[in-house]
């Protein structure tokens, strides 16, 4: 707690320190920005006017760079554009462009190397290789940036926002398009990723590798190569995100590979070939998610154990649940299945007979993918119904004993149908209570690990 207070205090004090010295820089008036940065004192602020074309600019002091209207920094293809090597640097409001594409170095529009408390806000980063690259940066804040890469092939693209060995980063309200991975995190812990929109990325919208104890919430991922991938990580909390229109043979809304102890709550999965693929995951909680109009809502490989599914809504999917084994070590209870045909005599809101989400047809397609041609044919629905009544091929234990009779109204983001296709307004769900509720469990986990 003391640590948190210290950070908060330093944030409060930072602006007063920063206004210690105030400089204005006009490009094309003799002096270069590089010279100015050499001469000013730590804690000074520079207001930049005009277009700066000085190749790679390295910042070695804690300064604040603020863009005046229309200020731009162009790296002219030299390498990185801005390199930050000092703590407490703020870069705000610039248009930044002109990185070189390299297959040897990770060149970025803003490259942050081994420092603390960096703020990168409200910048417009265009057609860069990496847009924002953090290497060993702690307590960084990346917010309100618009990052648009150059549409093209994966070889000439890099990640939009890239974090490597960083902790306690805040990434919020950013808008990322046309990169390889929209947001990429490797060896990153305790990050909060909220209210971002990631569209049209070649690979994943958001990609975790070996990153523990992170939270992402209220993000919107649409039409990326393969949605969001969370791999080899533990304690990841995923809430109220939207995963839309990730289509293709190996495209998923959310890919979970070797994840332990995570929560997936109130997310919306719509129009994906596979909503969630769960591979080798343990102790995950899937609660109150909405799966609508997906090909496969949930594919859970038999390598996953002790996962809980509760309060989820499955509606209009071609297949609700699919697996390659018996799936007996996971629990499903109190979900809503639109295919459920049972009754509720005691009127407690839960069906009195179990629902078996894994139909005969699901198994058939698992064995012979081309059997998909029989989808929704009369013969197949008869067989499916018979199999549900008297399971002979499907695993006996795979069932929901208390299926909901009506869809859970709190499932998903709420109103996913109306919003389909357009990016979310970042203003929704931002009431103080919503934010507090959002972060409180996250605090618990991060404290538990600290």
């Amino acid at each position: 707690m003391g640590k948190v207070l210290a950070i908060l205090l330093s944030w409060l004090l930072l602006p007063t320190m920063a206004w210690a010295g105030h400089h204005t820089f006009h490009s094309g008036q003799g002096r270069t920005l590089k010279d100015l940065l050499e001469t000013i004192a730590p804690g000074d602020t520079v207001l930049v006017h005009g277009e700066v074309r000085e190749g790679t600019i390295t910042i070695r002091k804690p300064v604040t760079l603020i863009a005046a209207d229309g200020a731009m920094i162009d790296g002219e293809g030299e390498g990185d554009v801005l390199v930050v090597r000092a703590d407490d640097v703020t870069i705000r409001g610039f248009r930044i462009r002109g990185t070189r594409i390299s297959h040897m170095d990770d060149l970025a529009a803003i490259s942050v190397q081994e420092c603390r408390r960096i703020t990168i806000a409200d910048n417009h980063i265009e057609e860069s290789f990496f847009a924002i690259h953090l290497n060993g940066a702690h307590d960084a804040v990346i917010e309100g940036n618009r990052v648009a890469g150059r549409p093209g092939s994966e070889e000439s693209m890099a990640n939009g926002i890239h974090l490597w060995k960083s902790s306690r980063a805040t990434i919020r309200n950013n808008h990322v398009m046309h990169h390889r991975d929209g947001i990429y995190l490797e060896f990153v812990s305790d990050a909060r990723i909220t209210d971002n929109t990631v569209l049209h990325c070649e690979r994943y919208g958001l990609h975790f590798m070996f990153s523990h104890g992170n939270l992402y919430a209220h993000n919107h991922f649409e039409d990326n190569g393969a949605g969001v991938a969370v791999m080899y990580s533990r304690d990841i909390h995923m809430r109220q995100n939207r995963f839309l229109a990730n289509r293709g043979a190996s495209a998923y809304g959310l890919l979970l590979k070797d994840i332990n102890d995570g929560t997936i709550e109130n997310n919306t999965f719509m129009d994906n070939t596979t909503g969630i693929l769960v591979d080798g995951c343990n102790r995950l909680r899937f609660e109150d998610n909405l799966f609508r109009l997906n090909g496969w809502a949930l594919r859970m490989y038999a390598s996953s154990m002790h996962c809980d599914l509760e309060g989820n809504v499955f509606s209009g999917n071609t297949f609700d649940v699919s697996t390659n084994g018996s799936l007996a070590y996971n629990r499903m209870e109190g979900n809503y299945w639109d295919r459920y045909t049972g009754y509720d005599l005691d009127r407690d809101g839960h069906g009195d007979v179990p629902h078996r989400p894994l139909g005969f047809f699901t198994l058939l397609v698992e064995r012979m993918p081309y059997a998909l041609v029989f989808s929704r044919s009369l013969f197949v629905s008869l067989l499916d119904r018979a199999e549900r009544l008297v399971p002979s091929l499907t695993p006996e234990d795979l069932k929901d004993d208390r299926p909901l009779m009506r869809p859970n109204p709190t499932a998903g983001h709420g109103g996913a149908g109306e919003h389909a296709g357009d990016p979310p307004e970042n203003e929704d769900n931002k009431g103080p209570n919503a934010v507090a509720a959002l972060f409180s469990p996250f605090r618990e986990t991060s404290l538990a690990h600290g």
Partner: protein, 255 residues
């Protein structure tokens, strides 16, 4: 031919069966849209209804009606009218009546509740099915003198196409699963008009699943312009061949 068409159509507008069909479809479609909160889910249920019910009704109705108007046909045949014109007018009138009934019973609710591409494709494939099974029904009625037997044959034909065909195909898939039969499954399924209509609708509705590995195969086949043309050609064959065969039977028939 136009006169025959006109009077048969006038007779059909008073036919309780046609009105009943329109009303039944209307009740089913409207009921589904009102029961389900999600119009898209209602559409999914409607697909199954259309794929099973529309062929049955079109088939049975045409068979029964052809027997019912036999005396009128005989009356027409003694007039100086070509037999071709008599049958042509009657067939057109039946097709028009059924399509009209379907437009009211199925098209209208779809248009009101879910005006989308999927609804449009469902309407078009449903209309295709009406034409195919009306043609088949007429053929059965013309080739078979006894009404009861004709209706029986119609039911068998319906059962064959709606269930047995799929069952046999699936059995074949299992039996030959060791062989590379993948490229053949979709075209063979597409030979059945009901399966073809269903696949066309599925390509729109289950699009997300279709984009998966296996789906790509028949998305490539039917999703392309070439595939659309092929699908339309198969549908057309199912209309033209029975109709042509019916005309032949009618020309030689001893009324």
């Amino acid at each position: 031919m136009l006169k025959v068409f006109k009077y048969t159509l006038l007779d059909l507008t008073r036919n309780r069966f046609v009105l009943g069909y329109a009303l039944l479809m209307l009740v089913i479609a409207q009921g589904l849209f009102m029961l389900e909160d999600d119009p898209f889910k209602a559409l999914l249920s409607l697909v199954q209804v259309v794929m099973a019910l529309v062929p049955l009704i079109a088939l049975v109705f045409t068979v029964v009606y052809m027997y019912d108007i036999q005396e009128f046909t005989q009356l027409l045949a003694v007039q100086p009218i070509a037999r071709r014109a008599i049958l042509g007018g009657q067939l057109l009138a039946m097709a028009a009546a059924l399509l009209l009934a379907q437009a009211v019973g199925l098209g209208l609710p779809l248009l009101v509740h879910l005006p989308s591409k999927a609804s449009f494709i469902l309407s078009v494939s449903g209309s295709g099915l009406v034409l195919v099974f009306a043609a088949l029904g007429a053929l059965i009625a013309l080739r078979q003198r006894e009404k009861a037997r004709g209706v029986g044959i119609a039911l068998v034909v319906w059962l064959l196409l709606v269930i047995v065909y799929d069952a046999l195909l699936m059995w074949g898939m299992f039996a030959f699963s060791d062989y590379p039969i993948e490229p053949f499954v979709v075209p063979v399924a597409g030979l059945n008009p009901i399966d073809l209509a269903r696949i066309m609708v599925m390509l729109e509705i289950d699009l997300a699943a279709m984009m998966g590995y296996s789906g790509a195969i028949y998305r490539n086949f039917f999703g392309s312009t070439m595939g659309m043309v092929a699908a339309a050609a198969i549908m057309l064959m199912w209309v033209v061949v029975p109709t042509w065969s019916g005309f032949r039977a009618f020309r030689r028939k001893d009324l």
